[in-house]
C-alpha cells in the first residue's frame, strides 16, 4: 500500500434516520411566516378587487397610483388619467406587478417563502422534503436576479405613496388617516432603500470606498437600514395592509369618528 486507499465505508455519512434532531420549536418561525405571508396574499386579492379605495384626501395604497378615468377625480395621480376611459378594471391591477415583483424577488422574502412555503429548508438542519434541488441556477428561479430592476420601480412606488401622504398632509384638518399614510410611506421607503440591490448600487460594487467618500457614506447609511431589512419588510408589509384597510373602512363609512 503506497497510497491512502480510502476505505469505501468512509464515504458514508453518519446514519441518522430522523429528519432532524432539533428539540426546539423550529417549526414555529416558518409557520408564522406562512400565516403572515398568506394573510397578505389573501388580503391583497380582496383589496385589489374592492372598489372603495378613495375618500378625500386618502387613497388606499393598494390602488395607488390611480391612472384611469374610472378613478374618482381626486384620486387620480397628479390629476392625470393616462389610461383614459377604456380601462375599467380595478386600478390596483395596473401597478400590482411592481411592488409585488419587488417583494417577490427581495432577498429577504425569498428566504422567508423558500423556508415557509417550499420548506427548502423549513429551518436550519431540518431535512427538506425534496428529492432534487437546483436552487436559483436555472429557469424559473434564475429570474430572481432581476430584483435590481424591480428596485428601480419600487423607488417610483415609494415616491407615489410619499406623494399620497403629502397630499393628505396638505389637506386640513389632518386626520388619523394622514398619520397612517405618513407612517406607511416612511416604512415603505425604509424597506425600499434598505434593499440589498440598493446597497450594491450605492457603493457595494466598489473595491475602494476611500476613493468615493460620498458613495461610501450612502452605503454606510443603506447598510444600517439593510441590517433591519427583515424587520422593515414585515413592518412595511403590515403598514401597507393596515393603511389600505383603514382607508377602505373610512371610505365605506365603517370608520366614521371625527378626524378619521
Amino acid at each position: 500500500m503506497t497510497q491512502t486507499t480510502p476505505d469505501p465505508v468512509r464515504r458514508q455519512r453518519a446514519q441518522v434516520k430522523v429528519r432532524t434532531l432539533r428539540t426546539d420549536r423550529w417549526w414555529l418561525a416558518p409557520l408564522l411566516t406562512f400565516l403572515g405571508l398568506s394573510s397578505f396574499l389573501v388580503y391583497g386579492v380582496w383589496a385589489i378587487l374592492d372598489t372603495s379605495y378613495f375618500v378625500d384626501p386618502y387613497i388606499a395604497p393598494f390602488s395607488s397610483p390611480c391612472l384611469a378615468t374610472s378613478c374618482p377625480e381626486g384620486a387620480r395621480f397628479l390629476g392625470w388619467a393616462p389610461f383614459g376611459d377604456w380601462y375599467t378594471l380595478p386600478p390596483g391591477l395596473l401597478i400590482l406587478g411592481l411592488p409585488g415583483g419587488f417583494r417577490l424577488t427581495c432577498y429577504y422574502y425569498r428566504k422567508s417563502y423558500y423556508r415557509s412555503f417550499w420548506l427548502s429548508p423549513a429551518a436550519c438542519a431540518v431535512q427538506e422534503p425534496h428529492g432534487k434541488y437546483t436552487g436559483e441556477t436555472r429557469f424559473p428561479l434564475i429570474v430572481q436576479n432581476v430584483h435590481r430592476y424591480f428596485f428601480y420601480f419600487a423607488i417610483l412606488i415609494g415616491g407615489v405613496l410619499t406623494y399620497d401622504a403629502i397630499l393628505a398632509l396638505i389637506h386640513k384638518p389632518i386626520g388619523l388617516g394622514t398619520w397612517i399614510l405618513v407612517l406607511n410611506a416612511v416604512l415603505i421607503l425604509g424597506y425600499t432603500f434598505g434593499c440589498h440591490s440598493c446597497r450594491h448600487i450605492t457603493a457595494g460594487r466598489l473595491n475602494h470606498f476611500s476613493r468615493h467618500p460620498v458613495r461610501y457614506r450612502a452605503w454606510t447609511f443603506v447598510s444600517k437600514l439593510n441590517a433591519r431589512h427583515q424587520q422593515l419588510a414585515w413592518a412595511s408589509m403590515f403598514s401597507v395592509m393596515g393603511a389600505d384597510l383603514y382607508v377602505r373602512l373610512v371610505a365605506k363609512g365603517i370608520i366614521a369618528f371625527p378626524f378619521a
Binding site: 500500500m1 503506497t2 497510497q3 491512502t4 476505505d7
Partner: protein, 629 residues
C-alpha cells in the same frame, strides 16, 4: 501489513506558522516538500496568537528600527538570547510581514494606508502588525493560502496539485530515522486510520511548537505535547534553555473549563489595568530596578502615556510578561486575589463599550461566549497560565540546523532566540523569520548532500513496535498518567520553584516513566484518542524531565525561571546554557555550555549602565575595551 511509504526532499513536521513558512521556502527553492501535522490543516496553535507580529517597520513611530527591536528583545530575554538570532529576527521581521501582505493578508491600517502597529509589553515603540486581536489566525490563513497558491501553480505546470508540496494532515510522527549520523526520514501514524506511514526524506524541519500540555493551567492546545523537542532529543540533538517557561500573566481563571485560556496582552496595551481585590493598581509596586526609569511611577503618568507616548513613561501593566506574572502570583498569595484565585483586569471603566468591541472583538466574544462576562461592563478575572517555552532545540541561527545533520528546527520548538523570556509579538515574527531560514537551510543542506541517506528497516520495525505497544496491552488509563504529570509540573515546577519541590517532581517523573511503559489503550486503531495520548506521553515525560533538571541546576532567577531559594539574577549564570541530551532515550543528562559573547557592534548598541546590571565584571571590562576602540 505493509507500511505506506512516501519519498520527499524535506518533511516539515508541524503546520503552524513556522512549519508552513519553512515548507513554503523549501518548495520555492524547488524541493519536494511534505507538511505533516497532527491536526487539520489550518488549525495549528498559531491561530491562538492574538496581539500581533513584532517588526520594526516604523509605520507608526519612524524612530523605530531593527536596532531598537534588537535591544528590546535582548533586554526582554535578560541577555540570555542567542544574539545572532535576535539580530536576524529584528532585521528580517519587516520583510517577512510585508511578504504576507503580498500573499493576501489584510492587516489593520494606519491613516496613510500602511500596516498599523500597536504597543505591546517590552517594546519601546508601537511595533506589532496586527488584525484586531486575531493576528495569529490571519497569519496561519495567509500561509495556508500561500501553500494552496503554490499547489495551484504546480497544478498548472504538472497537472497535479500535490506534485511539490503536500499536506499530510492528522498524521503524527513518532520517530525520526537516521542513516549513521544523518537524518533519513520519519515514522508515524495516521490518526484517522491508525495505519503507519514512513517518510523517506533526507531533511526534516521540526516546527511542532511547545510543551504546555505538561501543565494543568495552560493556554496551549492538546497538540503541545513536546513532540519536536522529544523527537530531536531521541535523534541525538540538544535542547537548551528548557528551564525557561513563560507563564502568561493573564489567562482566564473562570469558569474552570476555560482556565488558562489566554486574555491577550492587547487588553493592557489598549488601556486595561490590573487591580487586586482592594481595588489597588498593584503593578506600581512591582517595577524591578532594571526597569525603574522606563515605567511610570504614578497612575496619572501611566494614563497619559496612552495618548502621549513621547512625554510619558508607560504604565507598569506593560512590563515584560514574567514580571507581571510574578506580580499577580504574589498578590494572590498575599490574599488580595479575586474569589476564583486571580486578579482583576479591567478595561470596562477605561474605554467606551463601542471602542472595546472594536479594538478587542475576539476578547469580547471569548468572555461573552465562554464565561458569560461582558468585558465592556465588568472586569475580567485573570491569572498566570503556562504559555510558551523559551527553550528548545539548539540550532544554528542562520540556517536553523540542529547538531544532527539533516535536522532543522524553527519556531517555539527551537531554543535561543528569546533567551530567558520572550516579548509578546516576537513569536509570530520569530515563526516567519526562522521558518523561512529553516526551509532555506534544509534546501541548502540538500544541495550539498553527497548521497541520499537510506532508511534503516531495523529502526522502522522498532518504531512500529513502540507505536503498537499500547494497543496490545491492557494497562493503566493514559489519561490518569497525563493528569498526574500535569499536576506535578504545575505544582512543583511552576512559576516559582524551589530545589526541594523540583527534586520531588523529578522523583515523580521517574515513576511516571515506568507507568508510561505500561499504559494501555482500549479500542481500535481508528481515531483512538486514548492510544494517541499514550504515545504522546513518552514525549511529555521526556521534556518534563528536561525542564525539571535544568530548573534544578540553574541557581538564579531570570525571566521565565524563578527560584524562590535563589532570587535575583547572577551575571555568571548569564554566560551559561544548560543543554539537555539523552543517551538511552529515557534519561536526561545536562551539560553546561558557554553562551557565545555578543559581536562588538551589537554590544555597543547598549548603554554601559544597562549592561552593568547583567554582565560580570570581566565582561564589563571587555565592554569598556570595545567602547574605547
Amino acid at each position: 501489513m505493509e507500511i505506506e511509504r512516501h519519498e520527499y526532499d524535506v518533511i516539515v513536521i508541524g503546520a503552524g506558522g513556522a512549519g508552513l513558512r519553512a515548507a513554503i521556502e523549501a518548495r520555492q527553492q524547488g524541493k519536494r516538500t511534505a507538511i505533516v501535522c497532527k491536526s487539520l490543516f489550518g488549525k495549528a496553535h498559531t491561530v491562538m496568537a492574538e496581539g500581533g507580529a513584532a517588526a520594526a517597520m516604523g509605520n507608526v513611530n519612524s524612530d523605530d528600527n531593527w536596532m531598537v527591536h534588537f535591544r528590546d528583545t535582548m533586554r526582554g530575554g535578560k541577555f540570555l538570547n542567542n544574539w545572532r538570532m535576535a539580530e536576524l529576527h529584528a532585521k528580517e521581521a519587516p520583510d517577512r510581514v510585508w511578504e504576507l501582505e503580498a500573499w493576501g493578508a489584510l492587516f489593520d491600517r494606519t491613516k496613510d494606508g500602511k500596516i498599523s502597529q500597536r504597543n505591546f509589553g517590552g517594546h519601546e515603540y508601537p511595533r506589532l502588525a496586527h488584525v484586531g486581536d486575531r493576528t495569529g489566525l490571519e497569519l496561519i490563513r495567509t500561509l495556508q493560502q500561500r501553500v494552496v497558491a503554490l499547489q495551484q501553480e504546480d497544478y498548472e505546470t504538472h497537472g497535479d496539485y500535490e506534485a511539490y508540496i503536500k499536506v499530510f494532515q492528522e498524521c503524527t510522527i513518532t520517530r525520526l530515522l537516521k542513516d549513521g549520523d544523518r537524518i533519513s526520514g520519519g515514522f508515524g501514524y495516521w490518526r484517522e486510520s491508525g495505519n503507519f506511514v514512513l517518510f523517506d526524506a533526507p531533511a526534516v524541519v521540526l516546527a511542532t511548537g511547545g510543551i504546555g500540555k505538561s501543565y494543568v493551567v495552560t493556554s496551549n492546545s492538546w497538540e503541545y505535547t513536546g513532540d519536536g523537542h522529544a523527537l530531536a532529543l531521541l535523534a541525538g540533538a540538544n535542547l537548551i534553555n528548557m528551564e525557561f517557561i513563560q507563564f502568561h500573566p493573564t489567562g482566564m481563571v473562570w469558569p474552570p473549563s476555560v482556565r488558562g485560556i489566554l486574555v491577550t496582552e492587547s487588553v493592557r496595551g489598549d488601556g486595561g489595568v490590573l487591580r487586586n481585590s482592594e481595588g489597588e493598581r498593584f503593578m506600581f509596586n512591582y517595577v524591578p530596578d532594571v526597569f525603574k526609569d522606563k515605567y511610570a511611577t504614578s497612575e496619572e503618568e501611566g494614563d497619559r502615556w496612552y495618548t502621549d507616548q513621547a512625554n510619558n513613561r508607560r504604565p507598569p501593566e506593560l512590563l515584560p510578561r514574567d514580571e507581571v506574572a510574578r506580580a499577580i502570583n504574589a498578590e494572590v498569595k498575599a490574599g488580595r486575589g479575586s474569589p476564583q484565585g486571580g486578579v482583576y483586569l479591567d478595561v470596562s471603566t477605561r474605554l467606551p463599550a463601542e471602542e472595546i468591541k472594536r479594538r478587542l472583538p475576539s476578547m469580547h466574544h471569548q468572555f461573552k461566549e465562554l464565561a458569560d462576562v461582558d468585558i465592556t461592563a465588568e472586569p475580567m478575572q485573570v491569572g498566570p497560565t503556562c504559555h510558551y517555552i523559551m527553550g528548545g532545540i539548539e540550532v544554528d541561527a542562520d540556517s536553523g540546523a540542529a547538531s544532527v545533520p539533516g535536522l532543522f528546527a524553527a519556531g517555539e520548538v527551537s531554543g535561543g532566540m528569546h533567551g530567558s523570556n520572550r516579548l509578546g509579538g516576537n513569536s509570530l515574527s520569530d515563526l516567519l523569520v526562522f521558518g523561512r531560514r529553516a526551509g532555506a537551510g534544509a534546501a541548502a543542506y540538500l544541495d550539498g548532500l553527497p548521497a541520499r541517506p537510506k532508511v534503516d528497516q531495523v529502526q522502522v520495525d522498532a518504531a512500529r513496535a513502540e507505536a503498537e505497544a499500547p494497543l496490545q496491552r491492557a494497562g493503566e488509563n493514559p489519561y490518569e498518567v497525563h493528569q498526574e504529570l500535569q499536576r506535578t509540573m504545575n505544582e512543583l515546577v511552576g512559576i516559582i520553584r524551589k530545589a526541594e519541590e523540583v527534586s520531588e517532581a523529578l522523583e515523580v517523573v521517574e515513576k511516571l516513566k515506568e507507568r508510561v511503559q505500561l499504559v494501555g489503550a482500549a479500542g481500535t486503531r481508528i481515531y483512538n484518542p486514548g492510544w494517541h495520548l499514550a504515545l504522546d506521553l513518552r514525549n511529555m515525560v521526556l521534556v518534563s524531565e528536561c525542564v525539571a533538571r535544568a530548573a534544578l541546576l540553574r541557581q538564579e532567577s531570570r525571566g521565565g525561571h524563578t527560584r524562590d531559594d535563589f532570587p535575583g539574577m547572577r551575571p555568571e549564570w548569564r554566560q551559561k546554557l544548560l543543554a539537555c541530551s539523552t543517551e538511552d532515550g529515557t534519561s536526561i543528562t545536562i551539560e553546561e555550555k558557554a553562551q557565545p559573547a555578543m559581536r562588538d557592534d551589537l554590544i555597543s548598541l547598549f548603554d554601559r549602565d544597562e549592561l552593568s546590571k547583567y554582565l560580570t565584571d570581566e565582561e564589563m571590562a571587555e565592554f569598556d575595551r570595545i567602547a574605547k576602540s
